[in-house]
Every structure is written in structure tokens, then in C-alpha cells.
Amino acid sequence: MENIAEEVLMGNRYALAKAITAIENERENAMEIMQKLYPHTGHAYVLGITGPPGAGKSTLTDKLAKEYRRQGKTVGIIAIDPSSPFSGGAILGDRIRMNDLTLDDGVFMRSMGTRGSLGGLSHKTADAVKVMDAFGMDVIFVETVGVGQSEVDIVKAADTTMVVLIPGMGDDIQAIKAGILEIGDIFTINKADHDGADKLATELNMMLDLDGVMKEWRPPIMKTIANQNIGIAEVVETFGKHHNHIDGNGQLTVRRTERTKNEMLDLLDSRIGEHIRRNVVENGKIDKLVEEIKARRTDPYTEAAKIVSEMLK
């Protein structure tokens, strides 16, 4: 398909799919697509959904998407699953919970594997979000598993992030609390039909209060039973409240400015990295240098400085 970007802007769903493929596979045309789409971005509201495996993130996303559809909003969904570190392959199973959305023209859902490089993943996710944004989606969900550093990076693409927890996680919550307290604007205890939801809510409340500092926004703790559609409208309402809150106090602008700056810096990093790979690594220059350095005829500091000043000429 030629003119992918133009087709995306005209509402061609298959072009949207092709654009994301180009980004995912770092194809040559990805940059041109992003250049053309960028002016049309900045309208969507981006929601991050994260939490441990099997917590019900996809089921929640399915139900939340339907609630937004009832309100007349269009919805994009990006669901990320871990790739196998051994084969590099992945089973992307999030659609199983979202089959009702497949035939709705107001929804576009895409699965992605983490494919090893997490740094790469966060910028690819951010670009996939932008493509859906330019396509005209009002609300875009990004579902990721876990709450490690990589997920923190990915949810930085989100305006509001919800952490999904489930009863019976016991000590796990201690282990992940540093991560979750940071990134959760909203918490939900899903599978609230299971024992221990109240206990978990109490623990979580204590941890959030221990934080001490009076915050402008105290992350609310919701309860949901996603597969029974219970608590869903309340979550959507809370997303709205958080949106209004950060819109009103300028925090949304701050977050988006920060994000734009980080994206710019990441892009510079990767362009410079590419330049070095091409002009220092792939042509074998590095191997000659390493020999010189090993023989102590020169040192890595001098050579690195030389390469950089050469590059900047």
C-alpha cells in the first residue's frame, strides 16, 4: 500500500494496521508516516491499564471500551504481551476477551509483543498511539502486564494510568508497591467477587496514606468485577474526574510537555546511536580501535571524544 499516512487520515482501517506494522518492524517508511501524521495528533485521551498477569486487564478494557462507545466515543486499544525470551515468539491472547469489539467500526484493537528490547517498545507504543490518535480515536487504551520499569516507561505514554490488582496477592503487593504507588492515578481491585478485596483495599489505602505528603490527587481505590460488568461506569467516571483534575491544574500540559521532550531526546539518542552503529561499528572501525586501546596505545576516553567531535563536524 502506498500513501499509508494519507489513507490513515482518510479513515482507512487497513492503512492504520499497515502503519502500526511499519512502526513495529522499524520499516524504512515508518519515519515518513509519522512525519505526515504528527500534525494530526494530540486530540486523543490516552489511558494506561497495567497490573499482574491474569488480573482481568483485557476484560476490563473490553467493558470500559463498551462504556465509552455508549457515550459515542471512538476507541483505540493497544495490548502488549511478553515475547518469549527463548524463541522471540509470543502468544498474543488479549483479543480473546475483546471479541465483541472486533466488528465495531468505532473500535480498533491491536496486539503487540514486547520483542526483547523494552526501550524500543516504549517508543513504538507511543508511535502506535499517535497513529490511532491521528486516525481520530477519542480514547486510546494501552494494556501492559506487570509493573516493572519497562511498564512504567510504556505507561508514560498515558495521560491517566489505572493499576489493576486482585485479592489474594498477599505479599506480592509489598514487592511491587514502589512501582504501583508511583504510576497509579487510579487503582482498581478487580475480581472483587473473590475473598479479600476489602483487606487489599485497606492495605492499599494504608500504603497510599503512609506516603505522607498531602497530594492534590489522592488515587482513588475502586472495586470492579469486570466479567460481570460491575463497577465499570464508575471507573469511566473516575477517569473523567482525573482528566478534569489534571486539565484544571495544568498537570496535563506539564505531563504532555515532559513527554514531548522525552520523545525528542529518545529520538536524538536513537539517531545518534544509529549513526555510530553505521560509521563506527558496522564498518569495523570499532574493532581496530579496540586493538589499539588494548595495546594501550590510546584510551577509550580519547577515542570516544574524537568520534563525537568528528560526528559533530
Binding site: 500500500m1 482501517r13 487497513y14 494496521a17 499497515k18 502500526i20 506494522t21 518492524n25 522499524e26 520499516r27 515475547s83 518469549s84 527463548f86 524463541s87 522471540g88 515468539g89 509470543a90 502468544i91 498474543l92 491472547g93 483479543r95 480473546i96 471479541n99 472486533t102 466488528l103 480498533f108 484493537m109 491491536r110 496486539s111 509483543g113 520483542r115
Partner: protein
Amino acid sequence: MDKIKVLVAKPGLDGHDRGAKVVARALRDAGFEVVYTGLRQTPEQIAAAAAEEDVDVVAMSLLSGAHPHLFPAVVKLVREKGMKDALIIGGGVIPDGDIPALKEAGVSEVFTPGTPTGDIVEYIKAHVKK
């Protein structure tokens, strides 16, 4: 680098997906990205998911005997989405006599029960258009 992306789909009403899951895992272990959508998919849902995910391969598995109708329906809808290069293969309990008609309808290859998963992997690697 491009990865081979496969939609493993279960059209029709039969309620077993053990076979489909075994294939999905074998494909993952071969380094493919496998989108699995669960049981009881209509041809319309399969084609829509294939297009959104922009897969290279649609692999259908069917035990119910509805393949003479469902497999060609999927082929037709997938092509209508503009996916002219996607490789479409099928598997399941399919009588030998039905296979020529399925191939005629655009199913590239049909794998009957007992086919080693490695053969499916090799077939995809040899025939996928990247």
C-alpha cells in the same frame, strides 16, 4: 526486523481448542507472533481481526465439519479486506476428498490430524510473503 505474525482462528461452533492451542504454542516456539482469538469466531470476526493485526498468515482450525462453508468464507472476506498476500491455511478433521475444493477456494494448504507441528512451521516459513 519483521516477525512472522499469525492469526490462529477457530471458526464455527465446536467447543474444543486444544489442537489450536498446541499449534499456537508450536508457532510461538518457532519465533512467530501468534494472535489467538478464542473459540467460535465468525468468518467476519476472523477477517476483521486479521486485518487489524495485519497478520501474514491466517491459520484456521475446525473440528465440526463445517469447513466446506467456513474456510472459503474466511478466504473471501480476508481478500476483501485488501489482504491479497496473506497466506491462509486450515487444519482439523477434514476428509481428503474435501481438500481439492478448499484449495480451489484459496486455502493454500490443509493439515489433517497427526501432522507434526514442525511441518506447519516449515510450510509457513517456505510460503509466507514478507
